[in-house]
Homo-oligomer: 395 residues x 2
C-alpha cells in the first residue's frame, strides 16, 4: 500500500493528528510502526464506542504495522489510594488477568490475534523505585499538568486533586518510551495524556510518537457519549437481536456517523450511498439495515446477522416500531394467558384461547397454540391478533 | 523539671507552636519525647542562624528528651533532576558522608553527642518503591501543596514548579512517621513542611507531632536573614576574633535579639540586664562583650573568648571601630615597611623606622621593631603612632 493511500486510511475520522509529518517520514522510510493502545483493565465490557479506536488499529495492522496493546495493570493494582476515584478500584492479580482475558476475547473479534502484541505495563513500571518516580515527576511541571482539561476544571472548582493523579499521565507516557511507540491512539479525551508520552520520548532521546485521537462515539440516544451507564450503548457481547435493534432505532443522522466510524465501507462507498439516499434511489432503512448486519456479522457472524434482520423486519413490517411496544414483565412460572389477562391486554383467558385456536397469536414470529405456555427468561415479541404487538420480558 | 518549667523553656523565642496541648499531655504522662530536626547535607557550613534551632534542641535534650537528627541524604542523592534548583545538587555518597561529618562536628559543639541519635533518611526512604511513592503522593492534594508560600508565589508568577518538588515535603513528612516524632523543630520558613509531617502521622494512625518554629536570625547588618551569601553571617567555624568582632559590631537592638535566641541566659536575667542598661547602671558595651564572650566560648572555649575580648578592646579603647579601619592587603613576601609606603600610610620607610625605634608601632597590641618583618597569612591590627589603626590582610 502506498504511503499516500495509508495516510488517507489512517486520517479517516480523526479528531487530532499531532506529528503528521514525522509519521509520513517514517512511512516513506518503510519502517514497520509500533502502534500503541492502552487498555484499562478495570471495566472489561466493551461497546461500539471502544471499537472506533480498535477499527483504527486494525487499519494499521492491515497495512502491515505492529499493534501493541498495553494492559494498564500496574495502576490497576495500585488503584486510587486516596479513595476518591471510584473508577480506579484496586484489583487483584486474578481480577486483572480475568479482565484482560475478557478484554482480549472481545478485542480479537476485530484485531488479528497472531499479529498483535499484548503486554502488561507492570512488567516495567513494577520495577521503578522511588528515585525513578522522582525523576519521572521532575519531567513535567505543575502548571502544565493543570492544563489537562479535567484537572483545570476541578482545580477551578476547588475540587480535590490528589498529587498522585499527576503521576498517572507520566506513567502512561513512560509506557510509550518503553515500547518505543511510533503512534499512539486514543479517544479525544486522552489527547493530553498521549502528548505527555510524546514529550517523555523526546526527553529520552527517542523519536516522538505521533498522536491520533478518535471522536468519542455518541450513543443511540444521539446526544450523550456512548456509555453503559447512560443506557445508550451497544455492547460487543450483546445478542444479535439487541445489537441490530439498537442500530435500527438510532436516527438517520447517527447512522452516517456510525458508518464513518464503525463500518469497513470506504468513504467513497459511503458518499455514494448518501447520494443515492438523497436522490431517493436508496431507502434509508435499507442503508441502516446494511449497517446493522455489518456490525452484527462482525461479532456474531453473517448467519446471525441475517436472522436478526429478518426477525426485526417481521415486527417492523407490521408497522410497529419495536421501541414503542408495550412491555409486559413476568417470571418463568407464570402461564402466558395469565400474563395477558393480568396486564389487561385482553379481558379474559377465554378470549386469548379463541385467538390461539384461530392461529392469530405469534411469539417471535412463530404461531403458538398453548395458553398455559411457560416462557424461559428472555425478551420476546408477542403478536396478538392483527394489531397488538407486545414485548414480553421474562426474568 | 516540672512540666510548667519545661514548657516555659520550650516556648522561649518560638514563632509558631502547633499542638501545644498535645505536647503538655505527653509531658504530663512522663513520656520521653522524640525531638526531630532535619539536616540538609548540601551546605555543611553552619552559622549562628542555624544554632538558634540547635539551642532549642539542647533545651529538650537537657530536659531529658531524645534528640534525633535526620540527615536528608536520600534527597541529596537524587538532587533536582529537573536541574532548575541549584541548591539541590546531586551529591555522591562520599560527599554526603563528608558533609554529614562536618555538620556533626559543628552540631556537637552545642548538643551532647552521646545523647543524640544521628540517622540517615536513605535508610528508609531508599526502600520505597514506585507504589509506595504513589501512595505517599495520594495523601496530599495539589491545592494544599500550592498553599506553601514559595510554591504559591512561583505559581502566581508563572515560574516553573516541577512535579517532583511536590514529593519532597511528603518525603520529609514521612521521616516523622518513621521515627515516630513527638516534636519537630525548624525555621519559620519550614512551617508548611513540618505540618505535612504532622498530617502524615495522623493518616498513619500515630500521635501527631507538635511543630515548633524559630525565627530566622537576622544577620549582623540588622536587616536581612543571616546567610553566608549576604555576607552578614557569623560562622560557627570562624576564628574567635572574627566572631567576637562581628558581635561587637552589631547594633544594640540586634544584641537583645541575639541574647534571646542564642544565649543560655534565662529570660529573667536578660530582663534584669535590660533594666540595668535602661537606668544607666550597666553599659551596653559591657552587655555586648558578655554576649560575644558567651558565643565565642561556646565554640572555642573560655580562654579564646577572653583573649578575643582583650584584643578587641586594645583596638576599641583607642577609639577606633575596627570595622572602619583602612585595610592593607599584601602577600607574605612583602616586608612590612613596603606595605606601609606602597599604601601611602607614611611617606617613606625612614619615617616608619623612626616610629619603630620610638616603640610607637604595635602589631596585634605587641610592640614591634623590625621594618623588614614578614607576616604569615592572616589578619592583623597594626597601630602606627597614636592615631593610625590599620587592618593588614596577608594572603
Amino acid at each position: 500500500v502506498s504511503v499516500a493511500n495509508q495516510m488517507e486510511i489512517f486520517k479517516r475520522g480523526l479528531v487530532d493528528f499531532i506529528g503528521e509529518d514525522e509519521l509520513v517520514k517514517k512511512l516513506k522510510s518503510g519502517k514497520k510502526l509500533n502502534v500503541k493502545l492502552g487498555l484499562d483493565p478495570t471495566s472489561p465490557d466493551l461497546h461500539l464506542g471502544h471499537t472506533v479506536i480498535l477499527q483504527k488499529l486494525k487499519q494499521f495492522q492491515d497495512a502491515g504495522h505492529q499493534v501493541i496493546l498495553i494492559v494498564g495493570d500496574f495502576t490497576a493494582k495500585v488503584g486510587d489510594p486516596s479513595g476518591r476515584n471510584e473508577t480506579r478500584p484496586v484489583l487483584t492479580d486474578k481480577e486483572i488477568k480475568q479482565n484482560a482475558k475478557t478484554y482480549a476475547d472481545q478485542v480479537f473479534k476485530i484485531l488479528d490475534k497472531k499479529k498483535t502484541k499484548l503486554v502488561f505495563n507492570s512488567s516495567w513500571l513494577g520495577k521503578l523505585d522511588a528515585v525513578d518516580m522522582i525523576r519521572l515527576a521532575s519531567q513535567y511541571t505543575v502548571a502544565r499538568m493543570l492544563e489537562r482539561d479535567d484537572f483545570k476544571k476541578r482545580f477551578a472548582a476547588n475540587k480535590a486533586i490528589s498529587i498522585h493523579e499527576f503521576l498517572y499521565p507520566l506513567l502512561q507516557g513512560r509506557d510509550s518510551v518503553e515500547i518505543n511507540a511510533d503512534v499512539e491512539l486514543g479517544g479525544t479525551d486522552q489527547l493530553f495524556n498521549l502528548l505527555v508520552g510524546r514529550e517523555l520520548q523526546g526527553d529520552a532521546g527517542q523519536d516522538r510518537q505521533s498522536v491520533l485521537t478518535m471522536p468519542l462515539l455518541i450513543g443511540t440516544d444521539g446526544e450523550k457519549k456512548m456509555s453503559k451507564s447512560y443506557g445508550n450503548a451497544i455492547g460487543i457481547s450483546e445478542s444479535p437481536k439487541e445489537q441490530f435493534g439498537k442500530i435500527m432505532s438510532s436516527s438517520d443522522e447517527m447512522m452516517w456517523t456510525y458508518y464513518e466510524l464503525l463500518s469497513d465501507k470506504t468513504l467513497v462507498e459511503i458518499k455514494k450511498m448518501k447520494a443515492e439516499v438523497s436522490d431517493g434511489s436508496l431507502h434509508p432503512k435499507k442503508v441502516k439495515e446494511n449497517l446493522g448486519k455489518e456490525i452484527v456479522a462482525r461479532f456474531h457472524g453473517e448467519n446471525d446477522a441475517d436472522k436478526a434482520c429478518e426477525e426485526f423486519n417481521a415486527v417492523f413490517s407490521a408497522g410497529m416500531n419495536p421501541e414503542e411496544m408495550q412491555v409486559l414483565q413476568a417470571n418463568p412460572k407464570t402461564p402466558l394467558y395469565k400474563i395477558i389477562v393480568d396486564n389487561n391486554v385482553l379481558k379474559s383467558g377465554g378470549e386469548f384461547r379463541r385467538l390461539l385456536t384461530q392461529g392469530a397469536v405469534k411469539l417471535d414470529d412463530v404461531k403458538i397454540a398453548d395458553a398455559n405456555m411457560l416462557l424461559h427468561p428472555g425478551t420476546y415479541v408477542l403478536k396478538v391478533g392483527k394489531k397488538i404487538f407486545l414485548k414480553v420480558e421474562i426474568s
